[in-house]
């Protein structure tokens, strides 16, 4: 009996010892590797880096948008350029959008609180709007009003592109109000885009709003007019990009692992070259940018592009011009998010449409746009003056917009998403489908990008209505702002 009591008490003591040992459990289970909170400026830096990294790399840009717009094309493993796409790339890009948008939501909420930094609120709102714009221009209808609301909403509904465009314009109008030059709120060098220059952020904010507005102009001219006139009517309240020095470029550090993505790719691959569409246009116009945009072909020193989505094996790679060094060979190169010249072309188009552009004529803005693009590459005045004097370039700001569209198109190189959006909106240059398209019966390059299978697998009920009418993944639905007719 006595023994039993001893044994029982040993066991009981045992249990107690173990139980009391749990007192350190919370400390033990506190992650020593990852913080519970992080500075918003560093989260902002990640979102700028990560989104650009994904959407301006060979997968996110060269293979598809830059190819669909006829600027770049693949010369080896010609899959994407003829619509043999990779699901994993689609999923990856979709994630790059929403993961980073989610991070921006957190920054906006956190920095809107007492003691927050209004500049970070503004930056996060601008960057969020930019990411949404790129995303909706790829897929059209996407989750917006219910996106990034976990855990409340696990299956976000899809919103119409029209409603997203309307809201993005308002978001940017609001964002403009947050920026302040107060020293206490300067983000400093952690702002990897503008090194803490709030004015540049503000200019990016309003210029981006111009981009959205002009794109909406064929679908909802009143909306476009209202926003463009508001911005151009008050340049002190709504400053816009005013020189190439203000170009919204993400400049890469140039050392691993942050090397400019096109150059990084070139280190190991030689899969991309210039597309015939752009090269022929530059040749026809005697464009001084040609030797900058492209390298002469290895075989004969001529500039020669390849037809888009070419039949594999139907050409010799040495006969095709590669991409110019400025875009392709500089590890510390740039990803062009928005250029000054684009703003000028937007103003030209707005003036042509009869919007109040504050006295600037279409012809003036157009010429300034061409010059801005030329000087971006240090083309000298004599050369661009001669260029502008050519009949195919010279424009008086009336009649057809084709010359404007052409110059804007040429200026957008390396910004595949914009170039592709412009070709869809303007139908210039008029491009049929890839030579070796895996889908038959279409008369244009893709209208849209395939929805990610992850979303189809996981959010089918919401995506299903958005998918109706899609043909061959890439066609069947035109963007809300794409008012072309007779295209399929």
């Amino acid at each position: 009996m006595k023994k039993k009591i001893i044994i029982l008490s040993i066991i009981a003591g045992f249990a107690l010892v173990f139980y009391s040992c749990t007192k350190n459990f919370e400390e033990i289970n506190t992650d020593p590797n990852n913080p519970l909170d992080a500075p918003s400026a560093n989260v902002m830096a990640h979102a700028i880096f990560n989104f650009t990294w994904n959407y301006f790399d060979p997968w996110g840009d060269m293979n598809e948008p830059s190819s669909y717009s006829g600027q770049i094309t693949k010369i080896q493993y010609i899959d994407e350029a003829r619509y043999q796409y990779r699901e994993s790339v689609v999923n990856m890009l979709w994630r790059a959008s929403y993961n980073n948008i989610n991070d921006m939501e957190k920054v906006i909420v956190k920095e809107s609180l007492e003691g927050g930094n209004p500049n970070l609120v503004g930056m996060a709102m601008v960057w969020r709007a930019y990411m949404y714009l790129v995303t909706t221009d790829r897929w059209k209808d996407i989750p917006y009003s219910e996106a990034c609301r976990l855990p409340e909403i696990t299956l976000p509904k899809y919103d119409s592109q029209e409603s997203i465009y309307n809201d993005l314009l308002l978001q940017l109008k609001d964002a403009n109000e947050f920026f302040t030059t107060a020293a206490a709120y300067n983000v400093g060098s952690t702002d990897i885009l503008f090194a803490g220059n709030v004015t540049k952020w503000k200019k990016f904010c309003n210029s981006l709003r111009l981009r959205i507005a002009i794109r909406a102009s064929s679908a909802d001219s009143n909306l476009a007019k209202q926003h463009i006139e508001e911005i151009l009517g008050d340049s002190s309240k709504y400053p816009i990009l005013s020189s190439n020095a203000e170009n919204v470029f993400l400049w890469w550090p140039g050392t691993q692992p942050y090397v400019e993505p096109w150059q990084q790719d070139r280190n190991t691959r030689d899969d991309h070259a210039m597309c015939e569409t752009l090269i022929d246009m530059l040749l026809d116009l005697n464009d001084p940018r040609l030797p900058i945009y492209a390298k002469p072909a290895q075989s004969d020193g001529q500039y020669r592009g390849l037809v888009h989505g070419a039949t594999p094996g139907s050409f010799d790679r040495k006969d095709i011009s590669r991409i110019g060094s400025i875009f392709r060979d500089n590890p510390a190169g740039f990803s062009p998010i928005m250029r000054y010249s684009e703003v000028l072309f937007i103003i030209a188009e707005a003036a042509h449409k009869g919007y109040n552009t504050g006295g600037v004529t279409a012809a003036q803005a157009y010429e300034a746009g061409v010059i801005a693009s030329m000087t971006e590459y240090a083309v000298v005045a004599a050369d661009y003056d001669a260029y502008l004097a050519q009949a195919d370039v010279n424009w008086d700001g009336t009649g057809s917009l084709v010359k404007l569209y052409q110059q804007k198109y040429i200026s957008l190189v390396k910004n595949g998403q914009e170039a592709w959006a412009e070709t869809r909106r303007t139908d210039f240059p008029l491009m049929g489908p890839a030579q070796a398209s895996v889908y038959q019966g279409h008369n244009r390059q893709p209208f849209r990008y395939p929805y990610p299978t992850d979303e189809i697998n996981l959010n089918f009920d919401n995506i299903e209505p958005a998918m109706s009418g899609i043909v061959d993944q890439f066609w069947g639905q035109q963007m809300w702002w794409d008012k072309r007719t007779g295209v399929n």
């Binding site: 350190n24 030689d270 038959q440 189809i456």
Partner: protein
């Protein structure tokens, strides 16, 4: 009285003799000898001698645990020496159960199966786990590849978890050890093996596989997938005062099962006769005007710089000109002259096939394995020391593995009440170079086994890999994508060195006759260094080369205090069991350095980095406390009831859920004994049943949302929110196991059957379910899901021939079938993605379906199963969204071991296999795309083109899709093309067909069934007389051994001919996926064992 007595007893005679072991001739102490039909008996003494009085016409019955019972009529003899044979049916009468307690197998309510040390040390595999293949019912082994040091995955009773790696707990001499593993991923890296491979099979006495929840309930949260209990050799049971054993072997490895390649066409594009004729036709030429030789040179293939400077010489595909028909083309290994500007002009040389080029790359691997064991014992102590060295030269050139291990065990019993035992192991596991795996240029199979020029002469690459080509670049067949494979293995190395110490100290004190207390402290510590190097001038290298290195350190400490009791209330009722507690503390630290570019080429130090070094670190710590108890009640030695109870407190869970209890109950009924059914034909019978609930916690730090970071960008740390959304109300996982079975044996245990049915349900799994990324997160950690594993296990033992001194033949059959059903996920979630591969290919868990559904783009078929063809292209129509194209779970796995012995010779072989279990093969997919696989040049498809449904996919046939009057293809509302009625007659080129194949994942699904001749051993024990004449040894045996000797069967869908036994490490990640697996090796060798 005396006279009467002597008359009565005088009828008896005294019989003396010796009982020895048939196998090794050693004497057997403690053998029970009974006079048949009486209770009169004796036992043999320490030297195996006995003496007994018996009627001259009587019969003596000799019985000993683990040996066959022999009945010998006395027939008036006074000396009867007898050899007892091992009894395979009852050999494993005693099994080791949780906490190292040996129990009578018949008392268990669950299935536990033993594997004896000899059966894994005879034919040693580099990886202990691989040695279990086909030997245990209900266990599936998958050896990742034939590379040195590669991992082996083991699952017991199927995959029960979505996210855990489904690996069992490894326990060595009572203390858990880590089976930490890093495999190659699908996308590259090396397979660093799994840590259980540190155990030298030579030290293993036995392995017990605890399969069900009831078996493992006592080991707690880490044992939810079963337990592999390893007992190392302890010579205390042998009566010899000392001994020395030496074992030496050498084995030779040759790769086998290489993919089937075509040898008709070489590198390039558009080189087939079909394309040639089309070209003539399109250009209005005749063969006389434009010869095939000229066409081949102009449009098929012509080497200049391997970058497209010639014709298609930058390609890594084999759609080029026909081989072996007398063409001459400039090639990478053709002689060249230099022109005025120093540029090469390559001669045209014969364009001929090199059918064995892939195989030529591999070399004969050699494994030397030497072990010396010394042991001794006194009345109060035993000691054993074993030292071994294994040295492997891989089948892939310049790959290696060296394992040195020291194993020491000793015990002291200064009094009958007190015993202490120490077991210590030190292992050094070192490889200077492990081969790269996965889809990566550092995996040589990506080029030579996939993207390749079929005409390439491997010897040219081998002889010149360290030379430059005329452009001053490393000599290679192609300069676009790949390094010379010899450059890869010699320059771009991945090394690994692990030092490990594990062991424990156990003290036992007998408090009373029926109660003892045991304290045990065990520890497993290892430190591992890894380094990977990419040499300057490699294809993927930018400036000066690159390298990474990492250090990791793991420590797991376990302390147990256990009271054992064993109390006999009456002769009929006995209660035994234990009560105890465990404290576990596991910590892990790792750090890494990486330089992606180097200033001074090929100087792999971090100070030499060009730009910024990349760094990383990760530490974790987790603790658990547990109390547990077990009770076993037996009645008359034929009714047994077992129960266990355990509570774990795990630091990885939120406070409210720290503690979680689980339990098991089991019963066993030996009806043969209860109803006295034993006869000559029926020897033993019992039924058993058990029920258990077991639990599992999670990994550390999963309950709070955190930010993650990337390497600093221009001096700025980049933070982002973890893409997995955590939940704070996390609770543990639970598994419910029902198990029932029976065990029967007949004809003096010559036939034994052990059958088990099990039903495990795992609920509340802690899974990171994928959520739509539009929520901002990619996954969400939740407690959800239910997987149910049901199945059968069958173990059959046959003593087919039994003759003392004659031919003996035993057979053991293991077979199991497990159905892993996903019952539910979370809410209305339709699928959970276990892993993903190329394109839309995913391996999913889908409610209502078996675990591991492979989904991807499929063919569209009509109602007769014919493939629907696009009338505009002649190519198959595809499903617009991923559909089910296979399932990874096999129908069954099994193995048959046959053992023969005749006098001093024994021979055994093991055949094992599996039925079903689909695989998505990237080797097949890209082998077709690249025109290297045999199917791309079958028949005359490159000469004449092909029509789908006739020349390919003929087993299904093909029809055109339906179109409207203007030729537009008609689709149904889900976007699937509608089949027409007209049979396909659109002729296309083979190149076009196989380029498209890649988009239809269904084409690359293989049925994973196989049957392999896994092991063969032929042994010879030198006769005693001969050994005695040699003088120095007690016994000598030699054997001829073979492993992975032949693939006896593979499904016809495996026309690419890969080894379907494939994995990426031990995780769930690579289940059902094959991606340029390094080929397995066939091993043949010799072993000699000497006992001194």
């Amino acid at each position: 009285m005396l006279l009467i007595g002597s008359t009565l007893w005088g009828q008896e005679i005294r019989v003396t003799g010796k009982v020895t072991d048939f196998n090794d001739g050693s004497t057997l102490p403690g053998v029970t000898i009974l006079v048949k039909g009486t209770t009169q008996g004796t036992i043999t003494d320490a030297n195996g001698n006995y003496s007994i009085s018996v009627n001259p016409n009587g019969t003596l019955v000799y019985s000993f645990l683990g040996m066959t019972t022999e009945e010998v009529p006395v027939q008036g003899r006074t000396t009867i020496n007898i050899e007892l044979m091992p009894d395979i049916a009852t050999l494993q009468e005693l099994v080791v159960t949780a906490y190292g307690i040996s129990r009578e197998k018949k008392s268990l309510g669950y299935s536990a199966q033993d594997v004896l040390g000899e059966s894994i040390s005879e034919i040693k595999s580099q990886n202990l786990i691989s040695s279990l293949s086909g030997k245990v019912a209900g266990v599936q082994i998958t050896t990742a590849s034939g590379a040195v040091g590669s991992s082996a995955r083991i699952t017991i009773r199927g995959n029960s978890s979505f996210t855990n790696n489904n690996q069992p707990l490894f326990v060595v001499d009572g203390t858990p050890i880590s089976n930490f593993s890093t495999g190659a991923s699908q996308w590259g890296g090396a397979d660093f093996g799994n840590a259980a491979m540190d155990i030298d099979p030579a030290n293993i006495e036995s392995i017990t596989v605890l399969k069900g929840g009831a078996a493992s309930a006592l080991y707690g949260q880490y044992a939810a997938n079963g337990v592999i209990l390893i007992t190392t050799k302890d010579r205390s049971k042998k009566s010899e005062p000392m001994g020395v054993n030496i074992s030496s072997s050498v084995t030779f490895d040759e790769v086998y099962i290489l993919a089937n390649m075509q040898n008709k066409y070489g590198q390039g594009y558009n080189g087939g006769e079909y394309e040639y004729r089309l070209y003539l036709q399109n250009n209005g030429l005749t063969e006389a005007e434009y010869s095939y030789q000229q066409y081949a040179l102009d449009r098929g293939f012509r080497y200049y710089n391997g970058l497209g400077g010639g014709k298609n010489d930058g390609t890594d595909e084999s759609w080029g000109p026909r081989l072996d028909i007398g063409l001459n083309l400039p090639q990478f290994n053709s002689p060249y002259t230099l022109d005025a500007s120093g540029l090469p002009i390559y001669e045209a040389t014969p364009w001929v096939s090199n059918p064995s080029n892939t195989k030529d790359f591999f070399q004969t691997g050699i494994t030397y394995d030497n072990t010396i064991e010394i042991y001794g014992s006194t009345d109060i102590s035993t000691t054993r020391l074993s030292v071994s060295n294994m040295n492997v030269k891989g089948t892939i050139p310049n790959t290696d593995l060296t394992r040195n291990s020291v194993n020491f065990s000793g015990s002291i019993s200064p009094s009958k009440k007190f015993n202490t035992r120490v077991v210590m192991n030190y292992v050094n596991n070192n490889s200077d170079n492990l081969p790269g795996g996965g889809y990566d240029e550092n995996n040589v199979m990506q080029s030579i086994g996939g993207w390749f020029g079929r005409q390439v002469d491997m010897n040219a690459l081998k002889e010149n890999w360290d030379k430059d080509d005329p452009f001053g670049r490393p000599y290679n067949w192609n300069q676009s994508y790949f390094n010379n494979p010899y450059w890869v293995v010699n320059k771009n190395t991945i090394s690994r060195n692990r030092d490990r110490v594990f062991g424990n100290i156990t003290m036992t004190y007998n408090l009373t006759k029926w109660l003892s207390v045991m304290g045990r402290v065990g520890n497993d510590y290892f430190t591992e260094f890894r380094k990977g190097v990419i040499a300057n001038r490699s294809i993927a290298s930018t400036y000066g080369g690159s390298f990474w290195q990492s250090n990791r350190e793991m420590n797991e400490f376990n302390a147990d205090l256990i009271f054992n009791f064993d109390y006999k209330f009456t002769d009929d009722i006995r209660v035994d069991g234990l009560v105890g507690g465990n404290y576990m503390d596991r910590s892990f630290k790792s750090s890494s350095l990486e330089a992606q570019e180097l200033t001074v080429p090929d100087l792999y130090t971090i100070g030499n980095v060009r730009g910024n070094p990349l760094t990383g670190m990760y530490n974790y710590n987790m603790v658990s406390n547990s109390v547990f108890g077990a009770i076993n009640t037996s009645f008359r030695n034929y009714v047994f009831l077992n129960g266990t109870y355990r509570v774990d407190w795990s630091s990885t869970l939120p406070q409210e859920s720290w503690a979680y209890p689980y339990y098991s109950i089991g019963a066993s009924f030996v009806f043969s004994e209860a109803f006295k059914l034993e006869s000559n034909s029926f020897s033993f019978g019992r039924i058993r049943a058990s029920y258990a609930k077991t639990g599992m916690a999670t990994s550390p730090y999963r309950i709070h949302p955190t930010y993650r970071n990337r390497d600093p960008y221009a001096g700025n740390t980049l933070f982002f929110i973890s893409r997995e959304y955590p939940v704070s109300n996390l609770v543990n996982e639970d598994m419910y196991t029902y198990e029932g079975g029976f065990e029967l044996s007949f004809f003096n245990n010559r036939l034994g059957i052990d059958a088990t049915y099990f039903d495990n349900t795992t609920v509340n799994q802690l899974i990171g379910v994928n959520v739509p990324s539009s929520t901002g997160f990619n996954s969400m950690l939740i407690n959800a899901g239910e997987i149910q594993n049901t199945g059968y296990e069958l173990l059959l033992r046959l003593g087919i021939l039994r003759k003392s001194g004659g031919l003996n033949w035993d057979m053991v059959v293991n077979w199991s079938k497990s159905k892993d059903m996903v019952n539910e996920l979370y809410g209305d979630l339709e699928r959970y993605q276990i892993s993903r591969s190329w394109g839309a290919v995913t391996i999913d868990a889908i409610p209502g379906e078996a675990y591991g559904v492979i989904r991807g783009i499929g063919y569209i078929r009509d109602d007769q199963g014919r493939v629907v063809i696009n009338p505009n292209t002649g190519l198959p129509m595809r499903t617009p969204i991923p559909v089910e194209i296979g399932n990874i779970t096999p129908d069954w796995v099994g193995g048959v071991t046959n053992t023969f012995s005749y006098k001093n010779v024994n021979f055994s072989f093991l055949i094992d296999g599996r039925k079903g279990g689909d695989i998505f093969s990237v080797t097949k997919m890209f082998g077709a795309y690249a025109g290297v696989s045999a199917e791309t040049a079958e028949g005359d498809i490159r000469e004449n083109g092909l029509i789908i449904g006739q020349d390919v996919l003929s087993e299904w046939g093909a029809v055109f899709a339906a179109t409207n009057e203007s030729g537009v293809i008609l689709y149904d509302e889900d976007g699937f093309a509608i089949a027409g009625t007209e049979e396909n007659d659109y002729r296309i080129s083979a190149q076009k067909y196989f380029a498209d194949y890649y988009g239809i994942h269904e084409a690359s699904i293989i049925d994973g069934s196989f049957i392999k001749l896994r092991e063969v051993a032929l042994g010879y024990t030198l006769p005693k007389s001969l050994v005695n004449r040699v003088g120095f040894a007690k016994s000598i045996s030699i054997s001829l051994i073979g492993r992975n000797l032949a693939l006896l069967y593979t499904d016809k869908s495996n026309n690419i001919g890969i080894d379907t036994e494939t994995a990426f490490g031990i995780g769930n990640d690579g289940l059902g996926l094959e991606q340029y697996q390094l080929p397995p090796a066939r091993s043949i060798g010799f072993r000699i064992n000497i006992s001194l």
